[in-house]
Amino acid sequence: MRTLRFLLQKEFKQIFRDKAILRIIFLVPIVQLLVLPWAADYEMKNINITVIDHDHSPYSRQLISKITASGYFILQNYTASYKEALIDIEKDKADIVLEIPASFQKNLITKNEAKLFIAVNAINGVKANLGGAYVSSIIQNFNQQVRMQWIQMPRFSPQLNIEVVPSNWYNPQMNYKYFMVPGILVILVTMIGSFLASLNIVREKEIGTVEQINVTPIRKYQFILGKLIPFWILGLIVLAIGLGISRFFYGIISAGSLWVVFGFAAVYLLAVLGLGLLISTYTVTQQQAMLISFFLLMVFILLGGLFTSIDSMPHWAQLVTRADPVSYFIEVMRMVILKGSGWADIKNQLLIVLGFAILLNGWAVVNYRKRY
């Protein structure tokens, strides 16, 4: 215990003397949390639309103003022909082209039907999909309004009478930030854990001080604990800072108990620290450790369900996500913070992450050698 105390003392002194590490620990989380949630927003806004109105009727104008008033679209341009509109798409000025044919209003009233043409720039698949869907639904809506106006209420209503009233649970305003911020917090905690711990150990290898440590009677477990405990504490501190930021800047107040959040994070950090330790046992320079951590983190984030829903991944990818500790923490964070889940609800995830912690640390300890 005394040896461990000396190790911890040394480690904390070094960490608090290293300005670069301090910046990483305290500044990076703040900046990431303040910037990322605004950027990683799937709600499509600012979709540029170019309109070709051959009709110039009250109806066509009504439709256009309905589209622009929705808040999702920016009316980019009016053109006289489809050809000119295509140029807007080619120059990436427009995402969607809406063509209204000449006798739009007339056909709608007399023939009871009218055709519209929509062209979508599908380079950005998400934007194209959602933009197209938004336009379609606005047109649907417009269509209904017109029918209500013109068609006398018949005995048999031609319209379906099923009314759908959605109710958004756990995130009533469908605020995308409520979804993203807990996930981004997970990434931050993961970075502190795996990146910093492995870099720290590999740095001692690079400088040569680890050799000096290896000729002392320090036990393997003492050295490893001396490295893990400081970053475990730092990880929890970063989580606390992050939760503070999400409360004050985004008004996200955890629906569930913070004990559950921190309890899970404490176990989760053991797992990612184990990963960092494992990386350090396989590498000799900080560059190597950095590149491997970076690669793994990339995979973990993309498979972790931060940006894309795991449920919509192909089956094999879903199986792979089960080996991704990040996915469990993201899931738990969203469950606890948005839904208020308790210990019983996250029991499975907790046990799995505990398994990861035991496996990764065990592997790292076996692979860590004092003697070559």
Partner: protein, 249 residues
């Protein structure tokens, strides 16, 4: 077990794949002597020393350090030795005092012992004004002297010094050797590798390694006599002239 032997080595060998870095070397080091381990770069000095310190597992052969076996009792060996490596081994971002404190602490020394001995060591080194400065702000010669003091702070039986004076100016080297003598007088066995041949003259006995083998081992005066040389430099050149892997890693 012979009480007077600090280190016994018998046919100790280390292979890295096909490459035999140390080829069946045998020697003894008497307790309390200054034993010089000489050789060109790549002769196998550092590898041999690393095996004795428990940093490297021998391929074959036997060896004991302070009476403990290098295969199975490395933890006991580590309690009884000090080590100063080729690479600079103090923490640059800690102060002189913090470094001493840390290394003494992990050897399990009491706070009382650490406190008393620290002021003694600092006084000997004349570093009273530098104790609270970060090590990285000090010149190399000072750092090496501090590193040596740290390596014998816990009063080990044997201290291993791996090219301790590399890159240090002649005056500091002389001071360094007077520190080594002082340590030897207090009963610590010194095992030192070097490729400065003038330093070899300071040793009680030297052993010259060439290409993983021991080419000669005796007191410096005896060696000079045997090889009909006026200095150790000449002895070394005569022995190492035919070395094949002068610059091998």
């Amino acid at each position: 077990m012979n009480e007077n032997k600090a280190i016994t080595v018998d046919k100790l060998t280390k292979k890295f794949g096909d490459f035999t870095a140390v080829d069946a070397i045998s020697f003894d080091v008497n307790a309390g002597e200054i034993f010089g381990f000489l050789g060109a770069n790549g002769a196998g000095k550092t590898t041999a020393m690393r095996m004795l310190c428990g940093l490297s597992l021998p391929t074959s052969g036997t060896a004991t350090v302070a009476g403990f076996d290098v295969y199975h009792q490395t933890e006991n060996i580590k309690k009884n030795i000090g080590y100063m490596s080729q690479k600079f081994s103090l923490y640059e971002d800690l102060t002189v005092k913090e470094n001493i404190n840390f290394y003494a602490g992990i050897y399990g020394k009491s706070n009382q012992f650490i406190k008393e001995k620290t002021s003694q060591v600092i006084a000997n080194l004349h570093l009273e004004n530098e104790v609270d400065k970060l090590v990285k702000s000090l010149p190399l010669g000072w750092k090496q002297k501090i590193a040596f003091s740290v390596s014998i702070f816990h009063e080990p039986e044997i201290v291993f010094l791996d090219e301790p004076t590399g890159g240090v100016d002649p005056i500091t080297r002389r001071e360094f050797w007077s520190m080594i003598y002082k340590a030897a007088e207090s009963g610590i066995t010194i095992f030192v590798t070097t490729h400065y041949m003038d330093e070899a003259e300071y040793c009680n006995r030297v052993c010259i390694m060439v290409d993983g083998h021991i080419k000669a081992m005796d007191t410096p005066p005896q060696l000079k006599k045997r090889y009909n040389a006026t200095s150790m430099d000449e002895v070394f050149l005569k022995l190492a002239r035919n070395a094949e892997r002068a610059q091998a890693p």
